[in-house]
Symmetry: C2
């Protein structure tokens, strides 16, 4: 079983076919960076069209059992998430609405301060806001997973503590391997995993040691060390693959509509676009290489299967249903 818990590709039949070639049984895709509710609904609508157009390649994913159904029918189950709480605007009632529409992960902030939490690019991190506490409780109730990938440290640790259900960092790596603002220090990873949460290892070059030049071996050794420290069952993959996107999209991700000035985020004026992917991971057909890389550093059996997909499947199984309704969808 292979699950990639974060992609934001410029979707096309080509990519849907590559998902099948790479044996990817499920993906969690970002459908909102800065979109408001109505704009996010347009993105749900676009996916409905793709499900209608490519019923042999993809299917809507809502529950862990949909991954099993995708495997049985040779398709990829597509789960939805937001990298910002902008889709719920200032209306807590939208938490259940977006969950009903299929959203399963929501970051409490992107890089900036949001209504709910502080982003990792802010100078000061004031933790979870008043509305944030209410929204975490509501997300727990309906089965929308708190994702803190782009949030600042204090906010993340507070979210892990406040949340009564496990939370996630869908796409990041350990800071001690590659000290990017977006990577996570040990106390953050510990707070999330101690709470039963999950972290997905990212292949976005800005999150890698030596960026685009990162070797498969270095990446897999980092995974081995992290797993030794925090427990193999808490980790999976979240590539952050942004395949076939024009550079205008990375600008949208970074600036949205919040600034008239360019903000380069993890890039720079000299290199404002998407960075090139490492040679050993260009698209969804390369998951086999990643699995072989993990084998080469000693992974096997349940740990290997866990990292490649089973751990996310287990996480989906207990965290997407409404509180107290876990069994209903299995």
């Amino acid at each position: 079983m292979r699950i990639d818990n974060l992609q934001y590709a410029n979707w096309s039949e080509k990519i849907f076919r590559q998902l099948r070639e790479g044996g990817v049984d499920a993906i969690h895709v970002t459908i909102a960076y800065h979109e408001n509710f109505r704009e996010t609904v347009l993105n749900f609508e676009q996916w409905n069209r793709w499900f209608e157009q490519y019923p042999d390649l993809i299917m809507k994913g809502q529950w862990a059992s949909d991954v099993d159904q995708a495997i049985e029918t040779g398709r990829t189950a597509v789960f939805f998430g937001f990298q910002n709480p902008s889709p719920i605007e200032d209306d807590i009632g939208l938490v259940e609405i977006v969950h009903t529409l299929g959203a399963r992960f929501m970051q409490l902030s992107y890089n900036n301060q949001s209504l709910l939490a502080t982003g990792c690019y802010e100078a000061e991190d004031t933790g979870i806001t008043r509305m944030g506490k209410q929204v975490i409780k509501e997300m727990n109730r309906v089965g929308l997973v708190v994702d803190m990938s782009h949030s600042a440290d204090r906010s993340t640790i507070e979210a892990a503590d406040i949340s009564e259900r496990p939370i996630a960092i869908t796409h990041a790596n350990p800071y001690d391997w590659s000290p990017a603002l977006r990577n996570k220090k040990d106390d953050v990873i510990r707070a999330v995993t101690e709470n039963g949460g999950m972290m997905g290892f990212s292949l976005y070059p800005h999150h890698l040691q030596n960026k685009s030049d990162c070797t498969l071996e270095s990446f897999c050794e980092m995974i081995a060390r992290t797993v030794d420290k925090f427990g193999a069952e808490h980790f999976g993959i979240g590539t952050d693959l942004c395949q076939d996107q024009p550079d205008s999209v990375v600008e949208w991700m970074r600036v949205g509509r919040w600034s008239k000035e360019i903000d380069y985020g993890e890039g720079s004026a000299a290199a404002p676009g998407f960075p090139p992917m490492p040679a050993w991971f260009n698209d969804n057909r390369d998951f086999g290489k990643l699995e072989n890389g993990l084998r080469a550093v000693g992974f096997e059996g349940a740990d290997l299967a866990g990292i490649m997909g089973r751990n996310w499947h287990n996480f989906y199984e207990t965290n997407f249903c409404a509180a107290g309704e876990t069994a209903q969808h299995e």
Copy 2:
């Protein structure tokens, strides 16, 4: 089994308890008259709150099997519908979105011309529009039932012909019993029922012979004659009960935001408010009286059970699922 396929009450715990007292296992409630998409979502949100607040009295209804579950657990299943296509605005992609959120009936028009069809108060009826034909096809695909209760005759007959799945008139009576603009002539009822469709008999006084003074006997004899003419399996109840609503609400129903001048609809300047209900049907506790009235004019067995709820249940069973997916939710 008792199903009321149209209500628009000023919902409260009192009414939810009266539904239980009246043995009403399922209701179809209007959640949009003139609301746009975002406003309709606020109405879905309000119902989510009520489901959370009164879990022992009501539950969200999505499939026929939810009626069975409501019966097993002593609750009322609440199904959603719109009396106007305003919630989908000019965006066909919203058809699947509102179905996912739980909408199961949508009128192609209220009293006026809509983007899809002509309402029964327009001087000329030009039938189903270009967008209307596309939307009927999409409603058929996802399992959103075409409701023509407030539409004009030609539009209704065309909708019954164009639709590849049965359509409904959720709340109206035969015109030859009570010649209101909103009541339906035989050729309209025939077009709908021949197509496998359903009509719900209305208790809204403007649709009754002698309005508020209509007798239970007259109402039940009308049902007996109608059933003799078109077949008992095509009829049920759709009371149009608007319990506890202030008169400002009937003005909203009639005028929405489409006119600065008052339009009295079925009322008049002398009697602009909600008309008083007939003495024998004031609220949901009176369904037993209605059932006894039907018995008194000779109904029994499967026909009686059909009118009181089983026919709507059968209709839900085959018309709420996506085309070709009927079995999935049973």
